[in-house]
Symmetry: C2
């Protein structure tokens, strides 16, 4: 049965799952969420799709799952891919998934929204400067970890890579320039060289030009 991913192109959290599905050659299709018209925050969405008011949500038959890391772990159990091969690797993958949701994607997603998708006069400049410093500290942790490694955990691509890259291919400014972080830069190229890789705006419906 075709899995359905409730998602939208601008959502890096959705991209983590869409990319995991694409690289797994899974049978899936996207279901567009109109985030910019407030769909994820509506009473209907909270009541029927996700009480947390967030994307993505994966529907696989009777199963409905939210939080990208939960979905990635579920897909790994189903496909045998990207989930690590030992208890130590599984724990290390989860460690980076949590860190990413807290310190990297969690903050980058918010910062990119504030810097690009709010009307210019409503952008909170102090919040943007403060959050830019915090995401820069996160880029530094990741870049240092990747020194001398091809992948975040072990010897092959895992959900740790597929979570941490969630926002890093987007073209909009969010205090990130690949040229400043050579290890991240090389690692992003390694991921985008995987068979089946697509850019978020090519993998999911919805992108800023729709609202231009």
């Amino acid at each position: 049965m075709t899995m359905k991913l409730h998602c939208f192109g601008e959502s890096g959290h959705s991209y983590k799952v869409a990319l995991t599905l694409a690289l797994s050659s899974a049978d899936w299709e996207p279901v567009f969420i109109d985030f910019f018209k407030g769909e994820t925050r509506s009473e209907d969405y909270r009541a029927n799709v996700n009480e947390m008011g967030e994307a993505p949500v994966l529907v696989d038959g009777d199963l409905k799952l939210s939080q990208s890391a939960v979905i990635q772990q579920y897909l790994s159990e189903k496909t045998g891919k990207f989930g690590g091969t030992s208890d130590a690797e599984k724990r290390e993958i989860l460690r980076w998934q949590i860190w990413d949701n807290h310190k990297l994607s969690g903050q980058v997603g918010m910062l990119r929204f504030l810097m690009n998708f709010l009307p210019e006069e409503k952008r909170p400049q102090e919040v943007i400067a403060f959050t830019t410093a915090r995401v820069t500290a996160a880029y530094a942790v990741l870049d240092k970890h990747l020194a001398g490694r091809d992948w975040i955990v072990g010897d092959s691509i895992t959900n740790a890579d597929l979570t941490c890259c969630g926002y890093l291919y987007y073209p909009e400014p969010f205090g990130f320039d690949r040229a400043d972080w050579p290890n991240i830069d090389a690692w992003l190229s390694r991921i985008s060289a995987q068979p089946g890789w697509k850019h978020p705006y090519d993998l999911m419906p919805g992108n800023p030009s729709d609202r231009a």
Copy 2:
């Protein structure tokens, strides 16, 4: 062998693990991290304890684990407690752990730091107001979820409860008043009625009066 938890009293992320250990009647002891003197951000700490520059870190023999959710999951495998009883419960627990790290404890911890532990003249008021709105949205999600339930997942206390309560017993202001959130209030009383429960400042070394 006695497990060692690198932690400090003001850290709600550490408290999640310390409380899990306490309620499991595990054999453990705290190792004080001098966060307020910059210990977690030092080169030595990053090189030898946690490259992410964060607390807590659990050491169990040769094993060294970081990220509270990873440690909680490890402890559940070891003790058989708080980890859920089915695949569905395990996924639901992880879902709330990720949400907590991203939307609740992740933001509350930062907000409490800014509102209380920075010198008054250095407190970024726009960031505080912005983050207060975001944590209030998180309190609303949790309060609504707890309506008609005793515990976040299933019929007994799990790591989902022990992560989400991480910051909510602290006395300092962070935009949270138990009286505003009746379901959270009752649930916090349920947790603190568990045998072995202690307040964070009684369970871990270090508290604001040390620096007064």
